[in-house]
């Protein structure tokens, strides 16, 4: 060591000298909270009676933090915090823009609803298997994926949410679950491995993993590397995560097997993380390649929408039907990605936020329908309308919302997307969106006809009590969101338009990462 101390080292070139402003801690707070609570709950795994009462206040706090974060990002623009105070691009940066903050908030709301519902559905054995710790760790992965500003870090969060989802999927270890989980695990692992391959190539091309740095270098152009191959690899990897046709078959094979709370969580969170990553990488980082891939994404979007809805029409099990509807919704989001531009992207983001809330609500609804009717099968269900009129009314609202009928929140993103595709001259895309919506209406109309209006096979044989508050409260809250943003869509439309503009012209995002140079470059 002798003699080495006299070399002057200027740390200000590598480290952030100023202390982190207090407000910036909000960026890392959602992830720290989820991991911390997950660890605490894991230690308390034998105290099953305590777990829910730690997890639910924790998730409520997470919702509040995400609201504060969204408010901060909406008023001040993108916020960046670097780990270990290493300056980007060397340190791992967490950068939050409107898209990330809005997705993280919606994810937290969905998880809170599912956790409350779990009070009614996940009994002692499910809690002993670790439902609540896995839920918190899943949410750590999802929040991390939405908030990170580093591509390799995004891969790590994907793995965190994947391993937690394995645990949730096999909660109960039934035969169907093991079968579904095997297919889910293998195909998702291949998808994340493909993602890792693409990250390796991305680093080889740009020499950096920081998203803002890559965005600057990719926009500058001049690279001789086969960028289209790279973008195609990303499209395949994220398409697989998002369950886009023709790599969607893991979803209908597995989503109907776990407990309904877990299905609801997965439907609300997992595929949307894939769509988010696709938007982030292809739109913000590689915009030139996205434009080139546009026609292909259009074909994939149309095929996904129609394959999903045709699968739904042929399903007897409501949970499988909903799984296909998740796929169809992914197609609608991909249509927005294919169109690009502020309008297309804002439609895709709006639809993603709407779909997170709605699909969770629909799965929870299916759980209650099965409890009242004694089955998930459309051949056996019946008489739900006579059994509980209020429940039937709530179901009808959600069925209209998923079909994209006004005045519910599914209507507005479809209006935006159809307008954008007509403006771009892609009438076939507009036609596919409308056709998929029409077929969804038929599928859910039939569910209502068979499960609600058809008289039950034997009235009164199943004496089930009224819906518990733990199950009713999250359903009503999520439905209120669907109705609220359907009747007053203005604020959400403005938010998604600002988020889309921030992706198209990410100067504010770049400036938050590189305060000196980024905005100018």
């Amino acid at each position: 060591m002798a003699g080495s101390t006299d070399i002057p080292v200027d740390l200000s070139a590598a480290l952030v000298a100023a202390p982190v402003p207090l407000g910036h801690w909000l960026v890392i707070a959602p992830i720290a909270l989820c991991i911390g609570l997950g660890a605490i709950l894991l230690m308390l795994r034998n105290r099953t009676e305590w777990q829910a009462w730690i997890a639910i206040p924790g998730l409520l706090l997470l919702v509040l933090i995400d609201i504060a974060l969204l408010g901060k990002v909406a008023s001040e623009g993108a916020v960046t915090m670097v780990m270990g105070r290493w300056l980007p691009p060397f340190g791992i940066a967490f950068s939050v823009d409107l898209l990330g903050a809005a997705m993280a908030l919606t994810a937290a709301i969905v998880a809170l609803a599912a956790a409350v519902y779990a009070l009614a559905e996940i009994g002692t054995s499910g809690r002993r298997y670790g439902f609540f710790p896995l839920l918190m760790l899943l949410l750590a992965g999802v929040s991390g994926a939405f908030l990170t500003g580093d591509v390799f870090n995004l891969y790590v969060w994907f793995e965190v949410l994947l391993i937690s989802s394995f645990g949730l999927l096999i909660l109960g270890s039934e035969r169907e679950q093991i079968d579904g989980a095997l297919k889910y695990a293998v195909l998702n692992l291949i998808a994340t491995t493909l993602f890792l391959v693409s990250v390796g190539y991305l680093y080889a091309v740009f020499g950096t993993l920081n998203m803002a740095d890559i965005a600057i270098k990719a926009r500058a152009g001049g690279s001789t590397a086969p960028m289209m191959t790279l973008a195609g690899l990303f499209l395949l990897a994220f398409g697989m995560k998002a369950a886009a046709f023709p790599v969607n078959f893991w979803l209908p094979a597995s989503y109907h097997t776990p407990r309904i709370t877990v299905s609801a969580l997965f439907a609300g969170l997992l595929t949307k993380v894939g769509v988010y990553a696709l938007i982030r990488i292809l739109v913000m980082l590689l915009p030139i390649e996205r434009t080139e891939l546009g026609p292909m994404i259009t074909v994939v979007a149309i095929a996904t929408m129609l394959a999903g809805v045709v699968g739904a029409l042929g399903s007897t099990d409501i949970r499988r039907l909903l799984g296909y509807i998740v796929i169809s919704g992914i197609g609608t989001m991909l249509a927005g990605v294919a169109l690009g531009g502020a309008a297309g992207l804002s439609g895709a983001i709006f639809y993603a936020l709407h779909s997170m809330v709605l699909m969770t609500a629909l799965y929870l609804l299916a759980g209650q329908a099965a409890r009242l009717g004694g089955s998930f099968s459309l051949t056996a269900l019946g008489g739900l309308y006579r059994r509980n009129g209020w429940f039937a009314g709530l179901s009808l609202i959600l069925f209209f919302a998923v079909s994209g009928l006004p005045p519910f929140s599914g209507f507005w993103p479809k209006v935006v997307l159809v307008k954008a595709s007509l403006a771009a001259g892609a009438w076939w895309l507009a036609a596919a969106i409308l056709l998929a919506g029409f077929l969804t209406t038929i599928a859910f109309g039939r569910v209502f006809l068979l499960a609600y209006w058809r008289p039950a096979a034997d009235e009164g044989s199943m004496a089930v009590g009224p819906i518990k508050w733990q199950a009713g409260l999250p359903l009503i809250a999520l439905t209120a969101l669907v109705v609220g943003f359907g009747v007053f869509p203005e604020s959400l439309l403005q938010l998604t338009q600002a988020a889309a503009a921030g992706l198209e012209q990410p100067s504010a995002y770049l400036h938050s990462v590189f305060p000196q140079t980024g905005g100018a470059q």
Binding site: L182, A185, S254
Partner: protein
């Protein structure tokens, strides 16, 4: 050196894909094990393989020697190895459990979640 490794990576990937196309779950697991290593080797090769030049900035200079290997991909591999190892461990247990419960390792016969005979929804009542 890198060219040899590039060919090796290609061989790893083709072996992994060949094994994963099998319908027997144990071969799929072997394919996944090889796939994880193929990716690690790919990242390793992309970071240059030069054992003779240590990646340390010499005194007086402010950048690395151009021939030195890039240490970052090696850090990425370390993370990826840990992740792929833990996933493989989980998947092996899951496969064994599936073999016990479903009494088969043929994925074509694993129909517990998706039975062959699925009725269509009723057309009316």
């Amino acid at each position: 050196m890198e060219a040899v490794f590039a060919v090796l990576v290609g061989l790893f990937f083709s072996a992994a894909i060949y094994l994963m196309l099998s319908k027997f779950s144990i071969r799929i697991m072997l394919g996944i094990a090889i796939l994880g290593n193929a990716v690690n080797l790919l990242l390793f090769t992309a970071g240059r393989i030069t054992p003779e030049v240590p990646p340390i900035i010499p005194q007086g200079a402010s950048t690395l020697d151009l021939a030195a290997a890039n240490p970052l991909p090696q850090a990425l591999i370390l993370t990826a190895i840990v992740i792929s190892f833990s996933f493989l461990a989980f998947l092996l247990v899951l496969t064994y459990r599936a073999y016990q419960d479903l009494k088969t390792d043929d994925t074509g016969e694993m129909l517990a979640a998706e039975p062959d005979e699925r009725p269509l929804p009723p057309l009316g009542y």
